[in-house]
């Protein structure tokens, strides 16, 4: 996979197929991005599991914190890693010990570890890096357009009237795929410098 720019169909297929998401580094602090994403994805119908050894015994939006991936005790579709790039590898290594393996490993905005990605991809796991699933869900559904964001999708279809907590259709026509050309170039230049 080219991790500088993802086709929309790649992201769309992931968000349309996964049902359970374990979020490593989920924070109970309601101004942290992990909290926003956890809450949003829960509301859109994903079965969210918060992983954070520092908060075991507490709950995040009604879901009990779990200490580690291996403590979940049932199969999960996707792991969403809210850690810095330097802390990615151990999480991926732990993920690779799970049976069955997760289908997707997703690293948050700003997080990228190409070696860890290659390791996961070598056993057939799909990898997304430096993206936020909340933003991608909002973009492909065009819900993020409320904030003036370029969803890079079009549709001439009448959408259903929105109600609280509904799943949104992500199957709109893509305009450019992944990200804008200019922002992709900038991200690539940055990752090559580091």
């Amino acid at each position: 996979m080219n991790h500088d720019a993802y086709p929309d169909n790649y992201i769309r297929a992931i968000l349309n197929s996964v049902k359970s998401i374990a979020m490593v580094g989920a924070s109970p602090v309601n101004v942290r991005p992990s909290y926003f994403a956890f809450k949003y994805l829960s509301q859109r119908g994903y079965d969210m599991i918060p992983i954070n050894p520092g908060h075991v015994g507490k709950e995040l939006l009604g879901k009990p914190f779990v200490a580690s991936l291996s403590d979940i005790g049932h199969p999960i579709d996707m792991i969403d890693i809210f850690r810095n790039s330097s802390h990615i590898m151990p999480v991926v290594e732990e993920a690779l010990t799970l049976d069955p393996l997760p289908k997707v490993i997703w690293m948050q905005l700003g997080a990228r570890d190409d070696a860890a990605a290659a390791k996961a991809e070598s056993v057939g796991i799909k990898v997304v890096m430096n993206r936020c699933p909340k933003i991608e869900y909002g973009r492909l559904s065009s819900e993020i357009s409320w904030m003036g964001v370029n969803s890079r999708t079009l549709s001439s279809k009448r959408p259903p009237a929105p109600t609280q907590g509904m799943r949104l259709s992500l199957n709109r026509m893509s305009v450019g795929g992944g990200d804008t050309a200019a922002s992709d170039r900038a991200a690539k230049n940055k990752s090559e410098q580091t």
Binding site: P7, D8, N9, R12, N30, V31, P33, Y35, F36, K39, Y40, L109, G110, N130, C132, I135, G138, S142, E143, I144, S145, W146, M147, G148, V149, N150, S151, R152, L154, S155, S156, K157, R158, P159, P160, A161, P162, Q164, N171, R172, M173, S174, V175, G176, G177, D179, T180, A181, A182, S183, R185, A186, A187, K190
Partner: protein, 426 residues
């Protein structure tokens, strides 16, 4: 669901707009409301905390305005946009995110006269210090860089003379200095030039001009290219540092490559207040649907009128980059191959008096202080838009006393030429 890239005209009609879910209305409705009902207390808290996508209050966002924002972002190739009340408001909101009191920004000397006033006088009172540079001398931008420089500001096609700016060369200077390049793309519109493709980090527009295009609604917009890394060196604390207004959120960390547009909305528009009326957003959206058709006609007419003037005995010189003899013709061919815009100046052998006489005799051209209307417009910058500059600054910005500025409309070009001919000849 394919990743096929639609063309510019398709985006001009469709981007950002889909049928209204409640009524099925196909045209974008005018959501003429100040505020939006929350689902419950938790939803309200999520919206105020920037945790959920949705509407609160029209000063912060409005569904009609959001369609306009996404459409212009798509046309410019940006990640997000924010519509505001005017082009001037866009400039205030952009610089508020970038500059602290005592900081500097570099601006090209050839600018819309209103921008020169805003930068020189109004921004000085905020402690934002403009340093002028010359677009024809790229090294003058490099020389102007200091440790307090926070941004570079240029126009893609400069007002009033219609000169073309070498965006790529100046973006190289900006990148080397680690500051964002802001490009005012008003006179080109994204149909002629997409500054982000040439290295711009932020694009601003007066929507009042060619994008709206009909001379009926004020508006401005800010487009985030998603290319600048705001996190390094603590130079841009509005984006990189925890914001006390939002319980310590860091905008770049939370919103990634559209954090600048969000900062403009939640720190700029929310707190400074220059919101765009949804009615104006609707008028401008309708205008944008025909932008590619209008802009090509504007350019074709402008070239015909410029050629006529260049051959007229009463005319001393014509400054239009679409003419092969023009100083900026090579840059126009590179940056604006479809046309060099429709705003340009010419000077009369008869000087100031001849300019005043011409303006008074024209029958189709309207004498007023705007550009980018369907109607052809004329003005004498030295006595109007640029009148607050001293004589030397007038000449440097291309608005000397003998200079007349035209904004060519979409009428029949033969009628425009005939009107100029009778006014020049008598």
């Amino acid at each position: 669901m394919s990743d096929r890239l639609p063309g510019f005209s398709t985006l001009a009609v469709h981007a950002g707009a889909q049928p209204d879910p409640t009524t099925g209305a196909r045209a974008t409705p005018i959501y003429q409301t100040t505020s939006f009902v929350f689902n419950d207390a938790d939803h309200a808290a999520s919206l105020f905390g920037l945790q959920a996508f949705g509407n609160i209050y029209t000063r912060i966002g409005n569904p009609t305005n959001a369609v306009l924002e996404e459409r212009v972002a798509a046309l410019e190739g940006g990640t997000a946009a924010l519509a505001v009340a005017s082009g001037h408001a866009a400039q205030v909101v952009v610089l508020q995110q970038l500059l602290q009191p005592g900081d500097e920004f570099i601006a090209a000397r050839k600018l819309y006269g209103g921008s020169i006033n805003q930068f020189t006088h109004a921004f000085k009172s905020f402690g934002w210090n403009v340093v002028w540079a010359d677009s024809d001398d790229i090294a003058s931008f490099e020389r102007a860089i200091t440790p307090r420089t926070k941004a570079i500001f240029i126009e893609s096609i400069a007002n009033p003379g219609g000169s073309i700016t070498d965006i790529e060369a100046i973006s190289t200077v900006a990148r080397k200095a680690g500051v964002p390049l802001i490009v005012d793309n008003t006179l080109a519109s994204p149909y002629l030039i997409r500054p982000i493709d040439h290295g711009a980090d932020i694009v601003v527009h007066s929507l009042t001009k060619f994008l709206g295009g009909h001379g009926n609604s004020l508006g401005g917009i800010i487009v985030d290219a998603g290319t600048f890394d705001w996190s390094t060196g603590g130079k841009y604390p509005m984006l990189s540092e925890p914001r006390p207004e939002y319980h310590g959120i860091r905008l770049q960390e939370t919103f990634g490559n559209f954090a600048f547009a969000i900062a403009c909305r939640v720190l700029g528009l929310r707190d400074l207040g220059p919101a765009l009326s949804p009615f104006n957003a609707f008028m401008i959206l309708t205008g944008i649907e025909t932008l590619p058709l209008r802009m090509q006609r504007h350019c074709d007419n402008a070239k015909a009128v410029a050629e006529f003037l260049a051959g007229h005995p009463a005319v001393a010189s014509v400054s239009y980059a679409g003419l092969a003899s023009d100083k900026y013709h090579q840059l126009a061919r590179k940056y604006a191959p479809k046309g060099a815009g429709a705003v340009f100046t010419f000077s009369l052998k008869g000087g100031y008096d001849a300019g005043v006489s011409l303006v008074s005799k024209l029958q189709l051209f309207s004498h007023l202080a705007n550009v980018g209307d369907t109607r052809s417009l004329v003005i004498h910058p030295a006595s109007t838009t640029h009148s607050q500059l001293d004589d030397a600054a007038k000449i440097k910005s291309g608005a000397g006393p003998d200079v007349v500025r035209l904004s060519i409309g979409i009428e029949d070009k033969e009628d425009l030429i005939a009107d100029l001919e009778q006014a020049l000849g008598a």
